[in-house]
Symmetry: D2
Subunit: 409 residues, 4 copies
């Protein structure tokens, strides 16, 4: 066993960290403030702040761009990183909500780009992947539906019927992340295409340009009270939307196949970012603990505060190792063990991050609940992760099924 | 022992519940929606929605008004309820964020009215208490400060110096609940008046009309993205504010004495409302659990969901009894046991409510995080309670001190 | 609501407490020591220590005898206490493992006596109930079986077939508490009598004298290394055991009816004793916390110890109220609410007690795991309660079923 | 990063596992049974069962002997393993309480041998280390004292005064593991030698042969109800015991220096064994879950059982990685990070193991508490680990100190 980072990962991690602390963190608060002011004055809070574009240009110049590209599928688009190497970098990006945007490594664009890399036709890539890689446009992934329990993906009711050389799309999706941004031009839509087919061959994934007739972003949703601009999470209706059959990804009825491959690395990214978030929360907690005074002592020395800080350190460290190990398993090739590992981190990490951030909030008193610190927003982000990409309960069931599978014929 | 409600409490509880379900719950969503639209379009989200005034009139007509008035201090203002009887009613009011306003039983007005009842001069009462009891004006309580750890109230740094027949006030307060509402006309301010005095005699409470020169509501604060209109939580600066010495409550240096008496019943109210909130969350969870289907079953029958529902029922029931018992102890007169009991519920109940609401959110999937259900807002409210009126840690320390006190000379 | 004890309960509680501290606690350690020495030297650790008989005589003389007798069924045998009143007394008895024996209030004899009171024929009562009430003999309850999951009582496989005027009994039971004691003369056996009958009418309860041919106490079981002398938990085989049909309780096929009625009060007793145990653990913890020193301070002042003591106080108080409320509901007559309440306490209390005792053990260091303090044994007793009379999971399911039942047709 | 085992560790792990399942597990139950029978019949339960000696011979023959020897200090005694490599092997040994004895890798002998390797004189090694390496004798470590809080090692009150060419030893120790075994011939004693010296130079470690005059094993202690034969935990008094000054280890006043070095690897071993124990408990839980039936289903499919099994799998996996990482840090040389890591695992792992084992007990019903399964004993072992080698609270404090140290000058 060797727990040291590869030289390339160590170098990228350090450079991303330097960029983050020198370029992103100093402007973070003002960007959030401008968004808030715009939202509350009836202005436009959705068009990305110009600072983001400037930072993107700088990051690209420094080679800190599209680092998510997987070594296995990057092809002519770059060198790509292994899951382990990228995980180490993603942690650092997770420290700031702006960072993934700045480095063109934000969900759901990364997942959509990966799908196009792996399964896109040359045409689909030229039209959509390339502008995405250059951050000229953004994308959404339309999967979850308001009317059914999406934890069971086979419940999905929106339709994508193939009629001749067209796909006819109807239905309603929500929690489509990214649609708030006016640059979000392309939606990856998953719908029921053949109700008679085998349970996992009934659904199709298809590329739907946002400006197609019948596509309507009905409203943007809040998580707790946050809109998460400039991406946001939208509710989108599709009414007799027609796109050419060439927009189908991989082939009719193959949506589950795509979803499967998409989700492993995506969950590793989410989890590593959540670890970065937890690390930042712990830093804020410690800074506060040594600098605030109550009852004549730094609050670090009051009651169980030290024990809670220790528990946070332990929890972060163990979770990080679990995610790095899952990434390593993915690098070894998909296996039952890797499949379980991805579900394991999906349960472990968001819950861990919530505990750490909650502790940090508590140490900050009322301020911790406000926007004077990034903690409230961090908590909401981590809480959402217990639902996004499958709720805890579904992932626990995956882990248990694999575990118990060792004991039955 | 007799766990049945008194006939009066049972009657009021039932009538408040009927009012709530027939009058308040049907309009709740639209009121919240109007507030949201106003806020996001740069409109006025702070002036209370007209529906609230209409409901107040109806509630008053039905005698469901100022029920918080304590039997012990109501005097000529009404009959008043014991802590136990009011606790039973407060639980029901806690089901809706609008309800406490509608019944003129919302914090911090109730606490402020109680202080005026107990300690106000005839003049102070005529000028402030009476319009408050009629809900013509609203009030705030300015105690917490941004620059010091307010968990240790002796840290309080804002000043209220008595100079001749005036009190000169300087400093900065935040989390002053209610100041968003333009009807909020009077602030109860607590400040350092005599730094040389005994630790608990250094501070003075004084009535400061909002329109006094030098009072500035600097900004409204969010809790996890929510402004909690129409009350809100504000940051207020006081710069060389001068009020007549007749505005002092009880007497110079007696702020802690007032604060002490204020907080017992106030915490019982908060906690009973949190129990009502938890009950509503459990109702929503059960409704969802029996009506949504995944993997071919109602989600109630999946994995640990039933066990979690049972745990929620157990937790609510035990917490309710703990609060009712604390209320009963307060009714018996202040004692070390009552003092401990109030801190015990302050730790137990918000944490319990958070667990129950979080479970309900999880059962609702993404929607649980949005404003389509009252759960996200409920969670934030309960989370704030772990900090408001003293963080958990401070209350645990009170309980431990009393417990360990039995074992040392 | 009135949380004060009835004068009778308050008086009995105080007298039991006085007896406990003056008569039982001083000899407790030496009794346990004599049992241990006997066991390890191959001697007789099962015949009750003579001190127990002497204390029983004293307790009886003082009227502290058979207090468990329920007001509703005591009949000519005494005045009986309500569930609420007895619960208050049972808590005190729970402080010591000897106390229930001393006051003739120990399980399973209390449950068996109650069954005989409620369902026994005059003959059955004369022969078994009367000597039990005088503590001349002891009894066991043979229900759990090693070969099936007894959490589902309908799994029960041992048979009690009625053949003419005899009942023929076959099968194997374990966790039959009390059979270690040579005075244990009568077993209440539950077995399958009619496999074709309705699910809840298949089983019959029958009185089996221990010395009947074919009854064999195969071995005594340990719980985490403890034998719990002088009662103990045994594995008992029944091989073609024949008893007269007059030994059947209530009637063939009516075992579930009996079991149901038996378990409500029995669980209240268990839970209140567990609260007494937790109180004692907290006392030991506090005593230790203020008297031991490390790092230059009493250990009470180290890290999170005060917070843990506060949490223990909160947990005990809330659990006690939940049990008292369940007892009160039982006193009002069986209802769905009472039925739920009994399962609620069965989940809540043992888990609460375990947390408190574990905290106390931790504060005692290594000694807490040894027999120098009653904590290790207390922990094991509380842990067993999470399984005895139905595991947590089964009781959670009962609570959830009643809760969800409110939402389905 | 590379999470694969080295070929040597993989090979040893597999061979130890094969030995364990083919040679040790089949006899485990009968050995425990013979010990129990001996104890309860007043026989000798302390002389190691002859099977252990036979298995030791076989293990030695196969080269599965003294694997604990650290590469860094093994010297002429063998090749030694890195901490990472040995950790992987220790996990497997942890599955059975007999295994560490069989492979001559049990505490406290391993720690004592390591101390002799690192700090012993040639004479000390010839006399004590060599027979220990051959398992001809056994050893104890006498550190914890009944009269003081040993969590603060500077509290230690027993004395080891140097008088001329002798060390005079007085005091009382307990939890001296191994002294039950009559082969335990040498005690490593730690005592106060110079109360005036600097806090960490006051204590001395000295070798005390068991048969020295004035050494008395007063009694053997139980943990819960277990004696843990054939090693056991004893209380030992030392009354004017005199040994030559040549028995001092490293030098007078250097006990803390030795203790420090001893504890890092020792804690890794303990923790990895606890992980092996947890793995075995999970195996038993899964086996039970798929084979027992209640309410018409395998109990795996009831309520939250699958979720609990998933949580156990997640918890074990993350803990294992945390320990392996700590071992790897130790292999890189002692650092603040390694120092924290050792305390982190000491908190994380025993608590994790307790949760997993408790879940497995619960799934086994009453049997889980008995000795029919190794779970009750496993639980007690893991619980002891929360106190042995420093309680959780002390280790949390170490972690917090290092963490907060990053934020203060």
């Amino acid at each position: 066993m060797d727990f040291s980072l590869s030289p390339r990962a160590a170098d990228l991690r350090e450079r991303v960290h330097a960029f983050l602390t020198s370029e992103i963190e100093p402007v973070e608060a003002e960007v959030h403030h401008r968004i808030k002011v715009a939202r509350e004055s009836g202005g436009d809070s959705w068009t990305p702040d110009p600072v983001i574009g400037e930072l993107q240009a700088k990051a690209r110049e420094q080679g800190l761009w599209n680092l998510f590209l997987p070594a296995a599928h990057a092809g002519s688009y770059g060198e790509g990183l292994s899951n382990v190497d990228y995980a180490a970098v993603a942690e650092v990006m997770g420290r700031s909500f702006l960072a993934p945007l700045v480095f063109n490594c934000n969900a759901p664009d990364t997942g959509n780009m990966e799908v196009l890399l792996k399964y896109g036709t040359d045409e689909q890539r030229a039209q959509w992947l390339e502008p995405l890689l250059r951050a000229e446009i953004r994308s959404a992934f339309c999967m979850t539906e308001p009317a059914v329990a999406s934890s069971d993906a086979t419940n999905m009711a929106a339709t994508a019927r193939i009629e001749g050389d067209e796909v006819v799309i109807n239905g309603r999706k929500w929690w489509s992340t990214g649609v708030g941004n006016p640059d979000c031009k392309i939606f990856v839509f998953m719908g029921l295409s053949d109700p008679e087919a085998d349970r996992h061959s009934r659904h199709t994934m298809v590329l739907v340009p946002r400006d197609t007739e019948g596509v309507e972003v009905e409203r943007m949703l809040t998580t707790m009270g946050y809109y998460d601009e400039p991406l946001g999470h939208g509710e989108v209706s599709f009414t007799d939307v027609r796109v050419p059959v060439g927009n189908v990804l991989l082939g009719p009825g193959r949506a589950f196949e795509i979803a499967q491959g998409r989700l492993g690395p995506g969950r590793v990214h989410h989890c590593m970012r959540a670890i970065g978030l937890a690390e930042r929360a712990l830093e804020l907690a410690c800074t506060r603990a040594v600098s605030r005074t109550a009852f004549g002592k730094p609050i670090a020395n009051l009651g169980g505060n030290r024990e809670r800080i220790a528990d946070a350190r332990i929890a972060i460290n163990r979770s990080r190792l679990l995610v790095m190990h899952a990434a390593w398993l993915l690098d070894q090739g998909m296996s039952r063990e890797a499949y379980s590992a991805v579900s394991e981190i999906k349960v472990e990490v968001p819950n861990m991050a919530l505990d750490v951030i909650d502790m940090a909030i508590q140490l900050h008193g009322g301020g911790g609940m406000s926007d004077d610190f990034p903690l409230a927003n961090a908590w909401v982000g981590a809480r959402s992760l217990r639902l996004a990409d499958g709720p805890d309960e579904v992932h626990r069931n995956v882990v248990a099924k694999i575990e118990l599978g060792k004991y039955v014929g």
